[in-house]
Structure formats: structure tokens, C-alpha cells
């Protein structure tokens, strides 16, 4: 039998340990994994739990990330709770199998500790890997701090495993800033966490020999489109309500409120920063300061759910704003950033179309300071007051050399 772990009401955990505890409390049946910085401590901690009798599932320490996700797919199709973790290059190696997991509608949970993509090689945090996964058919949840990596880590199972959803879920956190920095974490007890999830309820399990299932069939031009359309349909119509339902249920047991779009001081905001990851917290602090110091009506929109993309919710939050700065922590390599594209597509549906500016920042773990975020708010305020965008559309922040900006000069 599994040992219960007595947790204090407040623990000091980094984001990786927090994620590992969410896997332990979910009593995952199979973890199939391969270590990679900065996500490695998730599977190391999980191995320690296993070695000390705190989990009784199977742990496949495989020979690559591709095999890790391949093992997850086989295990999930067999009919049980499955999870793994990765980052960056490992995520890239998994990409083929990510599409296979979602196409077969297998509710695997993947912790992605976000890290830059080589070359040049870099182990630090940016969102290149997260962006790489955005068309793969997975649900993508983003945490802005360590506590959220734990909370979303538990909720991910409940969302993905729902029989109306049946889709794999990524839980993102920033490499090192979140994964390797300890904070106060308020965990649930093992009993409360597990009863929140319950046992995994299999669906078309390969281990149900009364009802053999064929997984991964061939479809060509006659059926492929319908399968993809069905998956998109379910992402667009079934996930939002399920996520909201699970957030509400989780609030009851944890007291912590989650929203698909985490708006901050947006009620009267004239300028807004749209961001993901730990930068959301920094931007909130910068918004508070700039409101007090300069009287700029600043707000922040954090994207909690990247896929499916909460188009309607964001549209509502941004309906009165005059200037928006989209912050992309990934090299757009030849266009505007992903968030800039997505948000532009949303705001042109509003009556008042705001000025839009795109900031590329923090690549490979480069710092973004509260001062830099205040400067962005000030720039946005100039556009808001002018009633149109002032200056270029795209600007690189905190990079060596003369100011680097593109488009709309």
C-alpha cells in the first residue's frame, strides 16, 4: 500500500518539487520519462517518492523524450492515469508524438518547464518550447508561479480525463525562475487531493479484453479532415466550460481562485500588458507602481489557458483599452510574436480597436525588470493619449546594441 505523506499547511517548495507532489498525490499509474534541464527534478523527486513507497505506479525511465511520450501513449491507451515532464530540446524531440497523443484523444499530463531552444544552446527559461506545442492539439495551461504549477498540475488530470474532453494537457512553468526557486506553497492533504481527482476512469481501454480497441488508424483524404475537425470542435466547445467547472471545484477545496484569463486592474485600464509565465506577476507589480507614480491607468492580462485560446474572454477584457503591449518571450524569427498575432485577431472584433505594440523580451533567461515593464506602460500611454500607435510595432527589450525595432516605423 502507498504511504501517505504528512504535509505542513505551508511547505517551502520550488516549482519542480511542487509539480512532483502533484504527480504523487494524483497517484499516477505510469510515468514514462527522460530527464532534461530544468525539468529533471520533477522526475528525480518522483523517483524518490517511488523509492520510499509513496507511489506504487510504474516508472519507465526511458532512453529519450520521444520514447517517454511513446510510452505514455501506450500506457494511456491501455487505460490509466499517465504523466511525464520535459523541457526545450526534449520537448522538440517529443513533438511528433504530441500530435499522436492528442489525435488519439489520450489524457496524458505533461509538465513543460519552459526553456529556450538551441542554437545557441541555452538551459534558461523562455517560451520557445511552449510556442512550439501550440498547434499540437493539447490543452495548454500556464502557471505564473510555483503554487500554480502544483494546483494546475492536479487540475490538469481532472480536465483532460473527463470523458467529454479526453485530451492531453500541458502544464507550463518558467524554467529556473519558477522551477528552481522556492516559495511558500499551500498544498492539499493527500486525501483531499486524491478524492478531488478520484480513480482514473478508463475509456476504450486496450486492457478491456471484452471490447478490443484499435488505436491509431490510417485516414487519408476521405476521413482525416473530419477527425481533425472533430478534435478542433471539442477544443473550441467543450474545454472552456470544463476548465471553468474544475477551477470552481478546486476553489472550494483550496480557497484559490483561477480564471481562464487572469485580468488584473483592467476595470478602468487604458493601457495593458498581455503576458504569460512569471512575467505576469512582475507586470502586475509594475502596473501598481506606475498607477501610483504616474497616474497611468495600467492593467495586466495573464493568459492562463493558451490552448484552446480564450478568444471571447480576452475580447471582453480588452474592449475599453486604448493601447496594448503584447509580450512574447520567444524569438518570432521573421514576424510579430505569437501573442501579438493572437491578440490582434481578437481586438479587431471590438468596436474600439486599440494601438498594438509587440515586445520581444527575456530570450534564453535574459532578465526583465520592473523598471522595464514600467517603461513599456509609459510607451503604451503615449500611444493611448495619441489615440494611435506611436513608434514601431515590434521592439526588442534589454538586448545589446542600438535599439532593435521592426515594422510600422
Amino acid at each position: 500500500m502507498t504511504e501517505k505523506m504528512e504535509l505542513k499547511s505551508v511547505e517551502v517548495w520550488d516549482g519542480n518539487l511542487a509539480a512532483a507532489h502533484s504527480l504523487r498525490q494524483a497517484q499516477v499509474d505510469v510515468v514514462s520519462a527522460y530527464p532534461i534541464t530544468p525539468s529533471t527534478p520533477i522526475v528525480e523527486n518522483y523517483a524518490k517518492f517511488l523509492a520510499n513507497g509513496y507511489v506504487e505506479g510504474e516508472y519507465m525511465m526511458v532512453e529519450s523524450e520521444h520514447a517517454a511520450m511513446s510510452g505514455c501513449i501506450g500506457a494511456s491507451a491501455a487505460g490509466g492515469r499517465v504523466a511525464t515532464a520535459t523541457s526545450s530540446q526534449g520537448f522538440a524531440l517529443m513533438v511528433e508524438t504530441l500530435y499522436q497523443a492528442s489525435g488519439m484523444r489520450l489524457p496524458i499530463v505533461l509538465h513543460v518547464v519552459n526553456r529556450a531552444m538551441a542554437a545557441p544552446l541555452n538551459v534558461n527559461g523562455d517560451h520557445s518550447d511552449m510556442y512550439l506545442g501550440r498547434d499540437s492539439g493539447w490543452i495548454q495551461l500556464d502557471s505564473f508561479r510555483q503554487q500554480e504549477a502544483y494546483d494546475l498540475g492536479l487540475m490538469a488530470f481532472k480536465i483532460g480525463e473527463d470523458h467529454g474532453v479526453r485530451l492531453p494537457v500541458m502544464v507550463h512553468q518558467d524554467g529556473f525562475i519558477s522551477s528552481h526557486t522556492a516559495q511558500n506553497i499551500f498544498p492539499l492533504s493527500d486525501e483531499v487531493a486524491y478524492s478531488f481527482l478520484g480513480d482514473h476512469q478508463p475509456f476504450n481501454a486496450m486492457l478491456d479484453f471484452e471490447k478490443p480497441a484499435t488505436y491509431g488508424a490510417q485516414t487519408e483524404e476521405n476521413w482525416h479532415f473530419e477527425h481533425k475537425a472533430q478534435q478542433h470542435h471539442d477544443l473550441m466547445t467543450k474545454v472552456f466550460s470544463k476548465v471553468e467547472e474544475v477551477f470552481a471545484e478546486y476553489e472550494k477545496i483550496s480557497g484559490r481562485k483561477y480564471r481562464i484569463v487572469e485580468d488584473f486592474m483592467m476595470e478602468d485600464a487604458e493601457v495593458a500588458i498581455i503576458a504569460m509565465g512569471t512575467t505576469v506577476n512582475s507586470a502586475r507589480l509594475a502596473a501598481k507602481i506606475i498607477r501610483e507614480k504616474e497616474g497611468i491607468k495600467a492593467g495586466v492580462v495573464g493568459i492562463r489557458l493558451l490552448r484552446p485560446f480564450p478568444f471571447e474572454q480576452i475580447k471582453e477584457v480588452l474592449k475599453d483599452v486604448k493601447a496594448i503591449g503584447t509580450l512574447d518571450r520567444s524569438s518570432p524569427n521573421g514576424t510579430v510574436g505569437m501573442l501579438h498575432n493572437e491578440i490582434s485577431g481578437v481586438v479587431i472584433e471590438n468596436e474600439k480597436v486599440p494601438a498594438m505594440k509587440n515586445y520581444i523580451y527575456g530570450l534564453g533567461g535574459r532578465d526583465i525588470t520592473i523598471q522595464m515593464l514600467q517603461d513599456i506602460f509609459k510607451e503604451l500611454d503615449v500611444s493611448a493619449k495619441a489615440g494611435k500607435r506611436v513608434g514601431p510595432i515590434q521592439k526588442f527589450i534589454n538586448v545589446r546594441g542600438p535599439e532593435l525595432s521592426f515594422l510600422g516605423k
Binding site: I73, G79, M206, P212
Partner: protein, 319 residues
């Protein structure tokens, strides 16, 4: 101990319960379907199967149809072994937790993959699964070529074979490299059972598959699968060509137990020349031009040498 089927003759075999339906899109004369039937018919236990991308996969699970009356999964080209390894891990986990749906029905886990998906692109996944010791069987449907995509060379393609990526031409005799020795490689993993089989020797094959199902741990089966399309012989001659392969010792039938005990399981009464095997197939036709004839001699010498090596391995095995 798992129940083993007793099948005395081909008539009985043809009537045995078929979990792989005859309705599939494989070429007429394809040995794949014969091998798959022989593997599945070696046990009455429930099955969890996987297939790598390849001829078998594209011919047996074309939505909305399936030829499989057993649980079956296809992920990609390279990871069929890991797919059943994952399922096997789930079986162990749910067994430990008392959550199996049918706890009294322990299944067999079998991966099917072509030589491309085994010798080449899936090599790492196969090796990893064997190193971890999963209780699974990997069956290679070895037709020595990427047949599904039109006959490109794999590292199983034998020297002198004309393929679409190593075509015989005015200045080339086709494939330049000899076939990779997967049997020794898999034996070196310390697998409890490694065996080479051929569909024409079906009794030998069923015995080996049943041995493989009976042992704990990863089992590697290398099954010769004569390919009427890429080897270029008449669709009615699959078994005749297979007989030439086993009787010329180009495809010797043997097994390796625990990586150390080698047993030759078929000794032809009359060993036929390799030349006869090569002459039966269009892929080797150009070897019979005068400028290439030396390759046939080299083929014979290589096969003779390999047969001596196998016998030496057998003699030196611990008994």
C-alpha cells in the same frame, strides 16, 4: 502458466480462431499475414498488439475498418515496441493496484514492425525496451526493404539487391552493404529469448513463439517475410521462395536462449546453392551478368562462413 495451443496440422491451423482477419489490404502473396496469423494463433490468451508504420499497419487499420479482433495500437514508425512497453507497464501498475478490468486474464504484449522500423528508425526504442526488461515480444517482419514506400534500402537489405535507393545500373550492382546482424545484437541485450523464424517452417515457428510467450522478459523474433512486390517473384511462390531461403541457409533458423545458448532448429537435408535462391528473385537478376557473377560466389562464401559460425556458437553453448 499460459495456455498453449496445440495445432497438429495445417488444416487445424486454418480453422483456429482468427484474431487477425483475412480482410486486409496486403498484397496477394504477402508473407506478413501468414506470420501474423501464426504468431496470434500460438496463444489463446488475450492480446495487446502494436504495429509500426509500414505495410502491415497501412493495410489493416484503414478507418473506418480494422482487421484486428484484439487490442491494437499504432503510434509511429519508430516506437511500436515502446507502445506495447507502455501498455505492459500500465498492466503491471493496475495489477498492483487491484484495478484491472479482467484480473484473471493476463494478456500477451506483442509489437510488429518491419525491418526498417526495427533495424533502422526504431532501433533505439527497441534497444531501450529490451534494456528495461519489459515482458513484451517484438516481431520483425523482415522483408529486407522499405516495401511500404516503394522499395528503398534498409540496413536489413542484403548486398547486391537492387532497390530504389540503391538501384543496379551500368556502374552499380545495387546495395553495397551486407545485412545487419540483428539476432546477435538482440542476444547481446541479454534477452531471455531471441529466435529467427520463417513462415514456411510453421511448426518451428509456432514452437518458438510459444517459447517466447512462456518466458518472462523481452523476446525478439526475426521473421523472414518474402515480399512478392520488392523481391519480385510470382505471388503464388511465397512459400517456394521461403523454402529456397531456409534450405540455402541464407535464412538459417535458430534461437538464442538467455544470450548464451545457441540452438540451430532446422538443418536442411539437402542444402541448395545460394545461386538458386538469388535466381528466383528479380531483385538479384543483375547479379547473373558476367561482370557481377563474382558476387554470387562471394554470397555463397559468406553464407557458408555464417553457417560454420552458427554451428560453432551452438557447440560452444553452455548445456
Amino acid at each position: 502458466m499460459a495456455e498453449q495451443k496445440k495445432i497438429k496440422n495445417l488444416k487445424e491451423f486454418s480453422k483456429s480462431v482468427d484474431r487477425f482477419e483475412g480482410s486486409n489490404l496486403l498484397c496477394p502473396g504477402c508473407a506478413h499475414s501468414i506470420i501474423v496469423r501464426e504468431v496470434l494463433n500460438a496463444t489463446n490468451d488475450d492480446l495487446v498488439l502494436s504495429a509500426a508504420t509500414g505495410c502491415l499497419e497501412v493495410s489493416t487499420a484503414v478507418y473506418p475498418y480494422t482487421s484486428w479482433d484484439a487490442s491494437w495500437i499504432h503510434i509511429g514508425f519508430e516506437n511500436a515496441t515502446t507502445a506495447v512497453a507502455g501498455a505492459e507497464a500500465m498492466y503491471k501498475a493496475l495489477k498492483r493496484k487491484g484495478r484491472l478490468l479482467q484480473p484473471d486474464r493476463p494478456p500477451k504484449f506483442v509489437a510488429f514492425a518491419g525491418d526498417g522500423a526495427t533495424y533502422d528508425i526504431g532501433f533505439q526504442w527497441l534497444s531501450g525496451t529490451f534494456e528495461r526488461g519489459h515482458d513484451v515480444m517484438h516481431v520483425t517482419l523482415d522483408n529486407e526493404v522499405y516495401a511500404n514506400t516503394g522499395g528503398q534500402s534498409s540496413s536489413s537489405t542484403p548486398i547486391g539487391s537492387s532497390t530504389t535507393t540503391a538501384p543496379a545500373g551500368r556502374v552499380s550492382y545495387g546495395e553495397k552493404r551486407v545485412k545487419k546482424d540483428m539476432m546477435s545484437i538482440m542476444a547481446a541485450h541479454g534477452a531471455p529469448y531471441v529466435a529467427q523464424v520463417a513462415p514456411n517452417k510453421w511448426k518451428d515457428m509456432i514452437k518458438k513463439i510459444q517459447h517466447g510467450f512462456a518466458v518472462e522478459g523481452p523476446v525478439y523474433i526475426n521473421a523472414m517475410s518474402a515480399c512478392t512486390t520488392e523481391w519480385r517473384f510470382d505471388v503464388a511462390d511465397t512459400i517456394a521462395v521461403s523454402d529456397l531461403a531456409t534450405d540455402s541457409l541464407v535464412f538459417p533458423l535458430y534461437e538464442i536462449i538467455d544470450g548464451e545458448t545457441w540452438n540451430i532448429t532446422y538443418r536442411p537435408k539437402n542444402v541448395i546453392p545460394v545461386r538458386d535462391y538469388l535466381a528466383a528473385q528479380g531483385r538479384f537478376k543483375h547479379l547473373f551478368k558476367p561482370e557481377n557473377e563474382y558476387l554470387i560466389d562471394e554470397w555463397q562464401q559468406r553464407i557458408d562462413k555464417e553457417w560454420v559460425r552458427l554451428q560453432r556458437m551452438e557447440e560452444n553453448s553452455p548445456r
